[in-house]
Symmetry: C2
Subunit: 387 residues, 2 copies
């Protein structure tokens, strides 16, 4: 397996864009990425598209050649990868693997989702397809309800508080305020977060991520060819995708995602690092409780200590280990299929030192954690600066 670098980054702003369709978002991110790398579409040897539910959101399927063709990428493998909310991370995982294994030299990954053309109830219904429809969703277990159950259990088992969850929201809104690509630019206080409209007890509207449109792209190449590209290279040091049960009732403990734990362990081993070495991270805060769990499942803190860890400011932009400096799914936005790719873009941007007002101080080793559904898929990616 040879070393692989990210040699190009491109992303659209995240938001609700009435006049944009899925293809135009995907193409914008892809073109910006090729431009950043100084690469031509004809150099792309394979195209990896992460998309969760384009056919349900927009009626269009067969999305990989549909998006690739509009960028002038034709005659090469163009495939869509679907792994629910981890579709972007999964596309990146497979793209990385193909370059590492020597199948291709130059591959383009794009994650994209266009969600806001549907009503919120219809979006909830489409998202529910990422869970066990027959077993839990048809019984009323929307994703907010499933994560509410998880939060309740976490509160019961470890004493996690609503204030701790609200602290995640306050931090991520503050970070997104500094991110021109974020969906939401609105500072909130702890009191506001706690007094938010109830969605599924104990979760309020401020515990939930956003319904967004957006896309993000990465160009990958062997590290020893990185100097041929204009974009400052960032090394993919470790990566793993794993799976676990879809339904909550098939798990021994719903306060942890075993798929995330396994993926993190594999990725750490591959990178030759341990959890304490990770300087900053973008994690999958689809709900605030998920960010608290990520702190524990990634091994940053022991089980049950995620809440206090966030509450004492350790993960703030100026804290010891900034988490979701981008604003996270909570406030940067969560165009489902784009999210995993965007997280990796954001980590790479930090390592390049190009994150502007939200730049983290220690930026040599960062991690992105992408979750599918209520935890049946996990992708963990570790990026390192090229010295």
């Amino acid at each position: 397996m040879r070393a692989v670098a990210i040699v190009g980054l491109g992303k659209t702003p995240f938001g609700a864009f009435q006049d944009r369709d899925l293809r135009s978002l995907g193409v914008e991110a892809g073109r910006k990425c090729l431009e950043d790398a100084g690469a031509a579409p004809s150099q792309v040897e394979a195209f990896y598209l992460g998309n969760f539910a384009g056919p349900s959101f927009a009626g269009q399927n067969h999305l990989a050649p549909y998006v690739a063709g509009a960028m002038g990428i034709e005659g090469v493998p163009a495939t869509r990868f679907e792994a629910a909310c981890a579709s972007g991370g999964s596309a990146f995982f497979h793209a990385y693997s193909s370059v590492a294994a020597g199948l291709y030299d130059v591959v383009l990954v794009t994650g994209v989702e266009k969600m806001t053309s549907q009503s919120t109830p219809r979006v909830s219904e489409i998202l529910a397809g990422a869970g066990d429809m027959a077993g839990e969703i048809k019984a009323g277990g929307t994703f907010a309800a499933l994560f509410a159950m998880i939060a309740r259990r976490h509160m019961h088992q470890y004493g996690t508080t609503r204030e701790q969850m609200a602290a995640v929201a306050v931090k991520n809104h503050a970070n997104a305020f500094k991110n021109p690509y974020a969906h939401m630019h609105k500072l909130i206080t702890l009191e506001q977060a706690l007094a938010g409209k109830p969605i599924a007890e104990p979760l309020t509207i401020y515990d939930c991520s956003l319904i967004s449109d957006g896309a993000a792209s990465l160009l990958l190449a062997p590290l020893d060819r990185a100097s041929e590209f204009a974009g400052q290279p960032v090394l993919v040091a470790g990566i793993a995708q794993t799976s676990g049960p879809l339904a909550l009732d098939r798990r021994e403990d719903i306060t942890t995602f075993t798929a995330v734990r396994k993926a993190a362990q594999k990725a750490y081993r591959m990178a030759g690092v341990a959890a304490p070495d990770i300087q900053f991270a973008e994690v999958h805060d689809c709900f605030t409780i998920a960010e608290i769990m990520a702190m524990e499942d990634l091994g940053f803190v022991a089980p049950g200590e995620g809440g206090p860890y966030v509450q004492r400011g350790a993960t703030a932009l100026g804290g010891e280990r900034p988490v979701n400096a981008s604003g996270g799914l909570k406030a940067k936005g969560h165009p489902v299929g784009a999210t995993g790719a965007a997280q990796i873009c954001d980590v790479a941007e930090q390592i390049r030192g190009a994150a502007g007002e939200r730049q983290v101080r220690n930026r040599d080793l960062g991690l992105a954690q992408n979750l599918g559904g209520s935890g049946a898929t996990a992708v963990v990616t570790i990026l390192r600066s090229v010295r």
Copy 2:
């Protein structure tokens, strides 16, 4: 790149199964495949699911861990691959690539689709998502209409006749009659085929493939580990996936699929063979004209000679180069996401000499050709007997 073998095969019958859901079909094919290989679920290092539109047909998404988990496959990468009607072939292509490149040793591929729970108009609408929705489908260009235009142009340009198209249907119905796994067991005459209910001129009902439920699985391993498995190994000698434009109006010539031509050339080169060497094939006869075009695009005959080639019986079961000995999409059935995997299963079964009444005589080198939509994706796979 190391040599890769198919070491296990499993498939469900194709048909309209009121009492079966997507998961039960996928699990049946996967279990039969593991049983054929004498392998345990715990040996599977990655799971590749080909599925076109499960979320639209059945409301369930995040299908890879959903199916894998029910087979006892957990904690490994489980990903869905979508490339329209070539989803099964694409999943196989990526699975093959991962083993060839040394990422994994033992991987399971399953193609599955459950279509018959929806009405035919709704099925047509879902299938239309594989074409260019905004550009051609919204103007009435269903898949039958698109292939009717293609057929008309082929007739105009080369003198292809309705009798030649009907000959494809007659042959494939005759082959399916000998296949216990086929959806349709009904012999038809040329006169019946020509007098079929008109669907989109010049295509009648007998020119169209079936709406089916079904699944097919393959287990892959390095050739040098093949003896560890119970299933008789078959070598993957060549394989390629390529892409082309979605919309017909973006093509110079609609009587050929450039993606198929490119994929075939790549696969031939990889296998070290030429078109005349291929002894038998399973091709993507979503409409009868598509089988005629496949003869030309795969290089079996020159452009325009596909019709006469079929008409003179060259591709019959006892002919010089049997094509769709299984009955093809036309009569075996076309559960979209399963099709590409099932074609490869059928070719492998022939090479094993295990095809029963539909066994071909020369069975050392066979080809499977899987098409996505109206040609924007193509996968060509060449299998060879292990000597």
